[in-house]
Amino acid sequence: MRRYLFAVLFLVPMLAQAELTFEQLDELSVSPENLTGDFKQEKYLSSLDASLASSGVFNYQRETSIRWQTLLPIQNELLMTPTAIVNSQGGKELVRLETDSNPAVTVFSEILFSVLTADWGKLASYFELSGNVEGAEWIAQLVPIDKTIMQVVSRVELKGDVLLREVILHEASGDRTTIRFENLNQ
């Protein structure tokens, strides 16, 4: 009996985990028209076994753009639109990647856009989902379906409630980027 009980207890969270669906996430979270806030980013570099911390502000307009402004330790602005990723520094354009001429960039910009804007529909086409819900809070694990994407992003962890609060991107190289959002304003 105890053995069975143990098994049931053990299974319950697993079942709950498996139950998390993109539809559920869609209900739990909102994808606001626009959102501004602060971010704190920590990039772990496996080759150095050290982390680079940076912070700044961001704002996004749904389906239009994400402006990602790093303020510390360097000043840098990343503007992502569905067609291009433009990196500029001091008002000067540094790197511009057009998505249509660069298939790799297309995939990354799509994924990043979807993650930051909680576009669960689009994420469903790239990832398999697992995770669990506790009340209004949820934790989601995304694993790429496509092996070619897997070679760069091996896993994405998302935490949130109504809004997305934390993203951890695990790269195949062992590097990982943790981003925490604060002072979110719709």
Binding site: L52, S54, N76, L78, D100, T106, K147, L169
Partner: protein, 775 residues
């Protein structure tokens, strides 16, 4: 008397033996056919290297079948691609099918260039370094480092400035595809679309291969359409199959129609099977001998020679019909004496016109001239030597049709003395000359195109979606070594880039973009070294990388800076696959590479490319489309010039024999030609080579008509003979006007209009006599 028959028999047997010997010699030589349009170019124009390049470029297209499947549901399309790929791979006719990306291959693709990150630099980075913007390169690396996601291999020690990331991010495939779910997804289209590419194991012209491969695709298409998906394809295989299909269907409609018509008319006129069979004998012997002679002289026969040569030899039906009609009113002893002068002059005029082409400096025309002259002479000898014997026992039996035609002819108006008719003829003539004066020629490669419009637009569609580079326009770079070619390409890059910037050129593919010359690699190492010297220390200080990091990075650089990407190493790499065919030649003595272009080139950019090739030695701009169009234009004007000269000479001979009456012989074909050409200009917007080839046939039949008529004094049986050869030629060639194949259509339409006019004009320019039947 007996002696004469014997000598006649002897001559006939001698000819039979000669024909048999010729044919045996031809077969021994081996029936070799040539279909390359380039074989028709004058030798001096066509360097072997250019030919090699053209062949290599064409090969890409000829053995490749590209299939795109689109649909609303991504999963359905993916499943469809998988199924079709498995089905195609199972065929023995398919060498391989590219449809999925193996992750191991992708892995190799991503890392194989990593050791060369200092010698193979991204073009943009290289430019920044050249301009001394070292700091900017560092800033780019920093931005990438702090960006929330930076795809690519980032190792702060091995490659602190992310030179490899820069390289891989900006290197894109030559097609608009990206890997998605390990399949090849087409980018830049709205509906989910995936691609597969099959390489054929055999020739695309093989009927069996066409049936097998296209059978699988058609079955798939039916299934897909039902499921709401669509399929698009591109490849020579489709065009070859469409051409074969069209030829087959036209053979059974136009071909059968004209054959039935000819047989019916011949039976109706001669009312016996024997005449019908005999009439075609010279044509058969003519074509067989012509092929044999051409094979013996040239080693092989070009298919175009065969097609048009056979048409031109068709004139010889004139001789057969003239003989057969005349034989009905003249016995076999006297017939040759009666018609030989006419036959001889007829042969002379046609042989002159055809032989003149042999003087033109074009191998194609020389071959055509040899073929036609050999064929005509053989046909003519067959008529003269065999016909008297074959018809020896035939009784005199005037043809009813000749009498009927004679009555009909007498109701026809005559030009002579009829001012109204003369004016009525002059008016269209004036218009015709005016039209021809301002006319343009239209020597377009599309004339050689045989595919239906829907297939062509599908082809264009696929090429545009995928961004396939053109195989008919490219720059050919030649040099002593491959390295010399690469260096030359690098010299051209600036000019090509500026064409791109000006929006004239979509893009280009050059080998040196994937494999920089060793000299360029050496330069790149120097630039990277300066970058390390100037920027590494401040960069690592900013990142607070410990001191050991700096020395580690420097050690790593020293280790890798000696690496060069050699051509041999590169060719072993995965990434070289889609670039390899840019190497045209890489032998010990000489090398050549090609630079390909994406998108359609307009006239301005063609002009610019031409001037680039003129400016640099060893660089040739090749425009295969233009070459072929030019070739046809040159053939057209050569044909016209030589034929005009030949006919002027023929005219001189005819004037000597017929004096003033020569106008009756010459005017019908001459005026008919002018009117026909003018009508063709109006109907088809311009004249091309194939109109001219057909016009030679019209002129030949027209002149024969005039000569035969004047020689026999325009008797009804000669009229019947020339009318019959007009009708049979109209049926044999004129019906080709109905063909959907442009070449055949142009040829047919010219014969149709031309011969009808020749006959009408000959009728109104006739003498007034009653002739050889009692009416």
């Amino acid at each position: 008397m007996i002696e004469r028959i014997t000598s006649q028999k002897l001559a006939a047997i001698g000819w039979l033996l000669l024909v048999i010997m010729l044919i045996i010699a031809g077969i021994k030589q081996g029936p070799a056919f040539d279909s390359s349009i380039m074989a028709l170019l004058p030798k001096s124009d066509q360097q072997p290297l250019v030919q090699q390049a053209v062949d290599k470029m064409a090969e890409r297209f000829s053995k490749r079948l590209v299939v795109l499947i689109s649909g609303e549901s991504e999963a359905d399309v993916r499943a469809a691609i998988k199924t079709l790929s498995v089905d195609l791979t199972a065929l023995p006719d398919v060498d391989n099918v590219v449809w999925q990306v193996e992750s191991s291959a992708l892995d190799r693709l991503k890392t194989e260039l990593y050791p060369y990150r200092f010698s193979v630099l991204d073009e943009k980075v290289r430019q920044l370094l050249l301009d001394g913007h070292y700091q900017q390169v560092k800033d780019r690396a920093l931005a990438r480092l702090f960006s929330p996601m930076s795809p690519g291999k980032n190792s702060i020690i091995d490659d602190p400035f992310g030179l490899f990331s820069e390289l891989t991010l900006n290197r894109h495939s030559d097609l608009n595809i990206k890997p998605s779910h390990s399949l090849l997804k087409v980018t830049g289209v709205e509906q989910p679309t995936y691609m597969l590419m099959a390489t054929l194991a055999g020739e695309p012209f093989s009927t069996e291969l066409q049936n097998n491969v296209l059978g699988v695709i058609r079955t798939a298409e039916k299934r897909l359409v039902k499921a709401g998906m669509s399929i698009r394809q591109s490849g020579l295989l489709l065009h070859a199959a469409a051409g074969a299909q069209q030829a087959k269907s036209e053979m059974s409609t136009i071909g059968l129609g004209s054959l039935t018509g000819i047989i019916l008319i011949m039976l109706l006129i001669f009312r016996q099977l024997k005449s019908l069979l005999i009439a075609f004998l010279p044509l058969l012997i003519g074509c067989a001998c012509a092929t044999a002679v051409t094979l013996l002289v040239f080693g092989k026969v070009h298919l175009i020679t065969l097609a048009f040569g056979a048409g031109l030899v068709g004139v010889s039906i004139d001789y057969a019909l003239h003989f057969l009609c005349e034989r009905r009113v003249t016995d076999s002893k006297r017939i040759l004496r009666k018609i030989l002068p006419g036959l001889l002059l007829g042969l002379f005029s046609s042989v002159m016109a055809y032989a003149a082409q042999a003087l033109a400096p074009f191998p194609g025309l020389q071959q055509m001239a040899t073929f036609s002259v050999a064929g005509l002479v053989a046909s003519w000898i067959t008529v003269v030597l065999w016909f008297p014997l074959l018809t020896r026992t035939d009784t005199l039996k005037p043809l009813l049709a000749a009498e009927k035609l004679n009555i009909f002819r007498h109701r026809f108006p005559r030009l002579q003395g009829n001012w109204l008719l003369i004016i009525l003829l002059l008016i269209p003539l004036v218009f015709a000359v005016k039209t021809l004066w301002g006319s343009q020629s239209l020597d377009d490669i599309r004339l050689l195109q045989t595919s239906p419009a829907s297939l062509l637009s599908q082809e264009q569609d696929v090429q545009q979606i995928l961004g396939v580079s053109s195989s008919s326009q490219f720059l050919l770079i030649s040099g002593d070594t491959l390295q010399a070619c690469l260096q030359k390409e690098e010299q051209l890059a600036g000019e090509l880039e500026s064409l791109k910037k000006a929006g004239l050129l979509d893009d280009y593919q050059a080998l040196s973009l994937a494999l920089p010359s060793l000299k360029r690699q050496q330069d790149n190492i120097g630039l990277a070294q300066k970058l390390y010297e100037q920027q590494l220390a401040p960069y690592f200080t900013l990142l607070k990388v410990p001191g050991s990091g700096l020395s580690d990075a420097n050690v790593q650089f020293k280790e890798d800076m000696s690496r060069r990407l050699t051509a041999a190493t590169w060719q072993q790499q995965q990434g070289s696959e889609s670039w390899k065919d840019l190497i045209i030649d890489d032998s010990d003595s000489a090398s050549a590479t090609a630079i390909r272009f994406t998108g359609a080139l307009n006239d301005e950019v063609k002009q610019r490319l031409l001037s680039i090739s003129n400016k640099h030695s060893g660089v040739t701009y090749i425009d295969q489309v233009q070459n072929i169009s030019d070739l046809m234009g040159r053939y057209r004007s050569e044909v016209v010039n030589w034929v005009i000269m030949a006919y002027l000479f023929v005219l001189l001979v005819l004037v000597l024999r017929y004096k003033v009456q020569v106008w009756r012989v010459v005017m019908p074909p001459l005026l008919a030609s002018v009117l026909t050409l003018a009508m063709l200009v109006q109907l088809e917007q311009g004249l091309n080579l194939f109109h001219m080839m057909a016009l030679i046939l019209v002129l030949g039949i027209g002149l024969d008509m005039g000569i035969f008529l004047i020689e026999t004094g325009e008797v009804p049986h000669t009229w019947l003979a020339v009318s019959l050869s007009t009708v049979t030629s109209l049926l044999a060639f004129g019906l080709l006007a109905l063909s959907d194949t442009p070449v055949l259509h142009h040829f047919g339409l010219t014969v149709l209009i031309g011969l009808a006019l020749v006959w009408l004009l000959a009728s109104i320019m006739r003498k007034n006599n009653s002739g050889d039947v009692n009416s």
